[in-house]
Symmetry: C2
Subunit: 185 residues, 2 copies
DNA sequence: ACCTGAACACCGTTCAAGT
DNA sequence: ACCTGAACACCGTTCAAGT
């Protein structure tokens, strides 16, 4: 579907996303559409043509983040030790989120993120992540009632620590406590 | 300092807080000052006279929530079993937060909550809470490196699950996982 | 087809006038 | 002293005019 876009429109769309990612990372969450438009060198209307809503733009940024999650999960699946694979899945995912204000905003910003828009990416991630967790459960490396369904919840909690923690690295402590809680019975 | 308020002003202040608490609980986070003023039966200006900022109003609601936390901690301190005291501290606190959109908004709403305004209440809570945790550590009931400093972080994580979790009770699972993680090495 | 930016809407906040 | 609400400011969003 992106093939039908005119060449200049496609370039503009790309410029907007790059500008948005950069500004969110640098300025934090309170970046205005007008700033993004200016930074991308387009008019406000152009931003709205491509992303009907500010949330839609953020959703788009989240989508690419999810694709990275999938890569992380696929790589972690290669790790031999089942417990380490799980720990790596958590740790690398958290590392990816750190400093991505767009993603954090999507989760923390409350106002409905368009999760419908990224079901596909989420499913692609769920595959390897589920396999990693189930393997660890079967190996007795983590508590038997743990499942992939718990993962988003816990990551969300860790992300909230990134967001609100006083220092920068407090979330690693939070992650430590979570991982300790995964040990079997 | 509240003694110097004129009687009608004191009544208005109280009406505003009651209205705010009720509306936040019922409508969620996107309640407007004008609605609060209307529901309290005062003018907008009166709300601003008492609470220079919307955040200040929310901070006030949070302050009273913290006082309840302190009561919970003092009660939990009476529990004989050290591990159970810790579990109760977490569970009761989380229960208190549930359904308090004002509190959740204060934590999740990002935009700087005036924590300076509630240092005193926080300290009053830290006393018994610290004692509960240190007692459990000394008894070998929880991991030795756990401290009160970890508490707000973990509660914040659980609160984020209340906020974003699909169902209503998902956060209890999160709490379970956290408590499991507290067990000693 | 797509771009632009002036104009609109919404909501937090202020302040001149009232009691 | 305190109250009131019209007016202002800010920012997300729309839409008529332009290419």
């Amino acid at each position: 579907m992106e093939k039908t876009l005119r060449a200049d429109a496609r370039r503009n769309r790309e410029k907007i996303m790059v500008a948005a990612r950069e500004l969110f990372a640098r300025e934090g969450e309170d970046v205005q559409i007008e700033q993004i438009a200016a930074h991308a060198g387009v008019g406000i209307g152009t931003v709205y043509r491509h992303f009907p809503t500010k949330q839609d733009l953020v959703t788009e940024l989240v989508r690419s983040r999810f694709q990275q999650f999938t890569e992380i999960a696929l790589a972690a699946e290669e790790i031999e030790d089942p417990a380490e694979a799980v720990a790596t899945l958590f740790t690398e995912s958290a590392n990816a989120v750190e400093g991505d204000a767009g993603f954090q905003m999507a989760i923390m910003g409350v106002e409905d993120l368009e999760w419908e828009g990224i079901e596909e990416e989420k499913a692609a991630f769920a595959g390897p992540a589920t396999r990693i967790i189930e393997r660890a459960v079967k190996a007795g490396a983590i508590r038997p009632d743990f499942s992939f369904d718990d993962f988003p919840m816990l990551m969300c909690g860790i992300t909230s620590t990134m967001y609100f923690g006083p220092g920068g690295g407090e979330w690693r402590r939070h992650l430590d406590l979570i991982l300790a809680g995964l040990r079997p019975g």
